[in-house]
């Protein structure tokens, strides 16, 4: 058993390296204007957020609809602490400048210098610090919210967390906090994925790394979540999901474990929110609505509740289909079929929601159910062995 485990992680490591290398190669060979990269970036961000939601809803059985609120916290934290000081006045122009004057990348620049390798190091460290802080802020609020809310069950928990997400949104839109949050207006000009492209002295891009960044962060975070799920904590979470009373009888501290799962899920949702801000170059509270949480939940369902690999596959498929492959449905003619009355704005989302309903009703286990990818291979091997017999 030990041996196979070791071999498994070795294969996994190779796959990771191959995947990341493939991302870099692709981005530097295929024209960067291709829709592929938009999809890959957003897909990686969504994969992380969806997996974090799955940790809570699928593995711990806590039906929370607060994901968008925690993403908002992460996105704002990231933005507020990375906007360069020289553009702060123009970003906060409605409030006469920003109240906070901390910018993490600049903080490191004072140590490592702002050009060349030093500039790159300060950018990486600054962004990394901001991402971690984004997660911590989200986790901290999750802790506070969890104290009263986690005593509730199933749908009551869902509606209470949904309510909290709405309250968080309102607080961030409040103009009294304007000098910090820019009221309900947009925060922008902070480092985004494209800031990580390597440029030569003339400002020409030498090596594109903008797609690699979300992949590295998302892979790392998902790796941590998988480690957690396979630890004794993860087994406790699953026990709670299966039967709370039995779990408690086995000596699992229900509240402590629920709180832990809630905070960790929110931590990664916060990091995901920060990545989403990087992806979309700006943050605005009004985007993080309940509709966004519903969208994430539906991706979890499509992938299979309780499957990490399912969530990843579903996130990429969902983003690719909605942003790219099915976009043509909104426009006449579609695939050469000329029917202006049918192919018009909105059809894409209708087709999409019908697919989702079909999955929800007839393929309730989603793409993967609660299995993971290797399970599929293993079953094949078993079947092959049986045939050989």
């Amino acid at each position: 058993m030990k041996k196979t485990n070791k071999r498994g992680s070795f294969i996994a490591l190779i796959c990771v390296i191959l995947m990341l290398a493939l991302v870099v190669v692709l981005e530097n060979t295929v024209p960067f204007t291709s829709m592929l990269f938009t999809v890959l970036k957003k897909g990686a961000v969504y994969a992380l957020v969806v997996v974090s939601m799955n940790l809570l809803n699928g593995f711990t059985g806590l039906f929370s609809l607060g994901q968008a609120g925690f993403m908002l916290l992460g996105a704002y934290t990231y933005a507020i602490f990375t906007i360069p000081s020289d553009v702060r006045d123009s970003v906060f122009y409605l409030f006469g400048g920003s109240a906070l004057h901390i910018s993490f990348p600049e903080m490191f620049e004072s140590v490592f210098g702002s050009t060349g390798v030093g500039g790159a190091i300060s950018l990486i460290l600054g962004v990394l610090l901001a991402l971690i802080l984004a997660g911590l802020v989200a986790a901290f609020f999750a802790y506070l919210i969890g104290l009263p809310v986690l005593r509730l069950k199933s749908d009551y928990l869902a509606i209470a967390t949904l309510g909290f997400a709405e309250i968080i949104r309102a607080v961030f839109q409040w103009d009294k906090l304007g000098p910090v949050t820019n009221g309900a207006n947009m925060l922008k000009s902070f480092p985004s994925f494209t800031s990580f492209n390597l440029k030569d002295a003339g400002g020409h891009v030498v090596l594109r790394l903008s797609t690699l960044v979300p992949f590295v962060v998302a892979t790392l975070c998902i790796f941590l979540i998988v480690l957690l799920i396979n630890s004794s904590y993860g087994r406790a979470f699953k026990a709670i999901r299966e039967d709370e009373v039995a779990a408690e009888a086995m000596g699992i501290n229900l509240f402590k474990h629920k709180q832990l799962s809630f905070c960790i899920s929110s931590f990664f949702a916060g990091v995901g929110g920060a990545l989403l801000a990087m992806y979309s170059n700006q943050v605005q509270a009004k985007v993080f609505t309940a509709a966004m949480t519903y969208e994430l939940l539906l991706i979890v369902v499509i992938g299979g509740i309780g499957s990490v690999s399912g969530s990843c596959i579903a996130a990429f498929l969902y983003i690719a289909a909605s942003e790219w492959w099915l976009r043509g449905l909104d426009e006449n003619p579609f695939l050469g079929i000329d029917a202006p009355a049918v192919f018009r704005v909105g059809l894409r989302l209708v087709v999409f929601s019908v697919i989702i309903m079909i999955v929800v009703l007839f393929f309730r286990r989603g793409i993967m159910g609660d299995r993971e990818l290797p399970d599929l291979f293993r079953r094949h091997k078993k079947a092959a062995k049986e045939v050989a017999k």
């Binding site: 949904l162 909290f164 839109q173 409040w174 939940l297 704005v345 989302l349 209708v350 929601s353 009703l361």
Partner: protein, 291 residues
């Protein structure tokens, strides 16, 4: 004074419209233990149907037809999206409800092409009236009266008819009611029919007041009506109505103050306080498996 009265008037009318939606939530929750997220969108769909029907038909035909179609929609949603999941975990049904809500909103975007639709003005309801110096529409005055009439009728129905008795039995104990020979499916359908009927009536009142309909028109009123149902004690009809009026009035008072940003957040804060301190709400029955 005039300000206070006009705030109160719009609060009462908003509250009345929430009440009609809230009853649909509370009935369905009472029986299926399901937050019917699609209910607010059924309400929006009723508004849109009215827009399209009244474009070609006189009001005397289009209003009843709209009510019938809305009821049919509610019935169909239950049969297609919820019935197959009767034995599935509660979470699956709720996800299905979210899916239906998403579908209805997207369908509305597709049908309207993303343009806001103007609700037809209904003679009698749309006319202006002045009460103690505050000008408003007749619908503001009609709403609370109509709500009271409908609630009384509904309570009579539930207390004194066979269907009503079956509904009470099912909400008390699903399995036992089934064993006693109650046709669960027809009772549940009846619940959805009543809920959709009230949503249709509510949509006439609501959209006469706020005339433009967009695909998201139903989402917020729906959520608030649900909060009202929780506040009043889920399963209790008078509770839902009183909760809805309170929320409507509080909301308009907040909008009239300097805290307008929090007018939606207030509703949710109230929800959380109620859930944490008194999960049975104002008039709810004993705490079952909610906490």
């Amino acid at each position: 004074m005039e300000f206070a009265i006009s705030i109160l008037l719009s609060g009462i009318s908003v509250g009345g419209q929430y009440a009609l939606i809230a009853i649909g939530y509370t009935l369905v929750y009472g029986i299926l233990r399901l937050i019917n997220f699609a209910h607010g969108d059924v309400f929006m769909a009723a508004g849109l149907m009215m827009v399209y029907l009244s474009a070609s038909l006189p009001l005397s035909v289009s209003v009843p037809l709209m009510v019938i179609l809305t009821v049919a929609l509610g019935f169909a949603i239950e049969r297609i999206a919820y019935k197959p999941l009767r034995s599935a975990p509660r979470m699956s049904v709720m996800i299905s409800a979210i899916g239906v809500s998403y579908l209805l909103q997207n369908l509305a975007t597709y049908v309207t092409g993303g343009l806001p639709q103007m609700y037809p003005s209904i003679p009698g309801l749309s006319a202006s009236v002045t009460i103690m110096g505050a000008t408003t529409k007749w619908v503001t005055v009609v709403t609370p009266v109509l709500v009271v009439i409908l609630v009384v009728a509904l309570t009579q129905l539930i207390d004194h008819t066979k269907v009503g008795m079956a509904m009470r039995a099912v909400s008390r104990d699903f399995e036992t009611a089934q064993l006693m020979g109650i046709k669960i499916n027809s009772v549940i359908s009846a619940t959805f029919i009543i809920g959709s009927f009230l949503a249709a009536v509510g949509s006439v009142l609501y959209f006469t007041n706020y005339r433009s309909i967009v695909p998201l028109s139903g989402a917020m009123p729906g959520l608030k009506a649900f909060v009202a149902a929780v506040f009043g004690g889920i399963g209790s009809i008078p509770g839902a109505v009183i909760g809805a009026f309170l929320i409507g009035i509080c909301e308009t008072i907040i909008k009239g103050s300097n805290w307008t940003v929090f007018s939606d957040a207030f509703t949710f804060a109230l929800l959380i306080v109620v859930l944490v301190t008194k999960p049975t709400g104002l008039f709810g029955e004993k705490a079952t498996d909610k906490v």
